[in-house]
Symmetry: C2
Subunit: 222 residues, 2 copies
């Protein structure tokens, strides 16, 4: 190994940001395919999942290599073990986007149930949370990370609102049930994407401040 | 540090098994509270979540300590980084059991929609997958881990079966919709618990065989 450890860490950060940007694009494309009923976009999401999966393996191996050969301690050690966890979250965000794209493909086969307003809003929030959680990670920005955690409530609230609205459609017209359930699942996938961004952000606060905010929801705003 | 590294690894394994057994108990209690409409069991699940969360932090810190002070390489390094990922899966299994317990408490307020047959079966499968995935991990048993991955299909199939059955209830009677949706969510929580057990098992195969079966579903039976 002739490169410096700092350069290797920089490489790790770049790969993580690249993986995050692929995951973000998948969210955006999956929801756009749903809203605009564009089959090609949904298929792009399915196709790009492989790239995210391969990046997960690549970054995982890079982290292991750094742990074994550089034997980092303190902050660098925590940074690398956090990266190991974050790639799992990003990979699952990719999977959830695939789930949304699959629901979009299903829904295209049937008439539009309703114009979608809250789901795109929820998607935009979730995507921004993913972006900011990774920016917070590479810049060790605990304030931004805490801010992401706080935004999770807004996503949960939108999810409940969507849930209640779709229930009324189901009650009014039984023919709407399967489509309403599909949309309900999309909202839940987006909620889980936001949860993953929150998990990443909690790791960032731990990394920077050396204390855990996991399982201490009351501290989210602190 | 006067203890041997082997003893520390043994301690790590024991803590992981303890955490897994708490997570398993939560699954069992949450579903039993749903099936038997027992409020006290659901409340036990909510109460025990704190213990799982605290164990996650404790094991996380133990792993970091071992990485920093023992600077393990090769198999031991992979074992510890796998443990770091596994505790995240176990913690989320605990959260999902809490979600099930919350649905159970909701459903107790309303008349029984139908006798539950498939959901307890699904829960039993998921709980066994969690148990076996952790046994496979601490015993480095790749065959058992592969076996767990294969069982995930059975859980997915049950989930689809439950989904289709609940749809028929919703179509027949709009007053059944909210209860049916609650049960549908319980089935999805169980499916996600099985997914976490599958994730753990994939890590075990990687740990033992040094190759990844993640993202290579066709190899699951190999």
């Amino acid at each position: 190994m002739d490169r410096h450890f700092d350069e290797e860490l920089k490489d790790l950060k770049e790969k993580l940001l690249h993986m995050a940007s692929l995951a973000e694009q998948s969210i955006v494309k999956a929801v756009k395919s749903l809203v605009d009923r564009q089959k090609d976009l949904a298929e792009e999401v399915l196709a790009s999942d492989e790239a995210i999966n391969l990046l997960e393996i690549e970054v995982d191996e890079l982290c292991l290599k750094l742990l074994a050969l550089r034997q980092p301690i303190a902050t660098d050690l925590r940074f690398i073990t956090s990266a190991l966890k974050i790639i799992t979250d990003l990979e699952r965000i990719g999977d959830l986007s695939v789930n949304i794209a699959e629901r979009a493909l299903d829904l295209m086969e049937h008439p539009l149930l309703k114009p979608l307003i809250d789901i795109p809003r929820m998607a935009q929030l979730a995507q921004k949370m993913v972006k900011d959680s990774l920016d917070a990670f590479v810049n060790r920005d605990a304030d931004l990370a805490r801010n992401v955690c706080m935004r999770d409530d807004e996503v949960d609230q939108l999810n409940h609102q969507i849930f209640r609205e779709l229930l009324t459609y189901m009650i009014q017209d039984t023919k709407a049930i399967t489509r309403a359930v599909d949309l309900l699942l999309v909202a839940r996938h987006l909620e889980r994407i936001a949860d993953h961004a929150t998990n990443i952000s909690e790791d960032v606060v731990y990394l920077v401040k050396g204390k855990t905010i996991k399982h201490h929801i009351e501290e989210k705003g602190g």
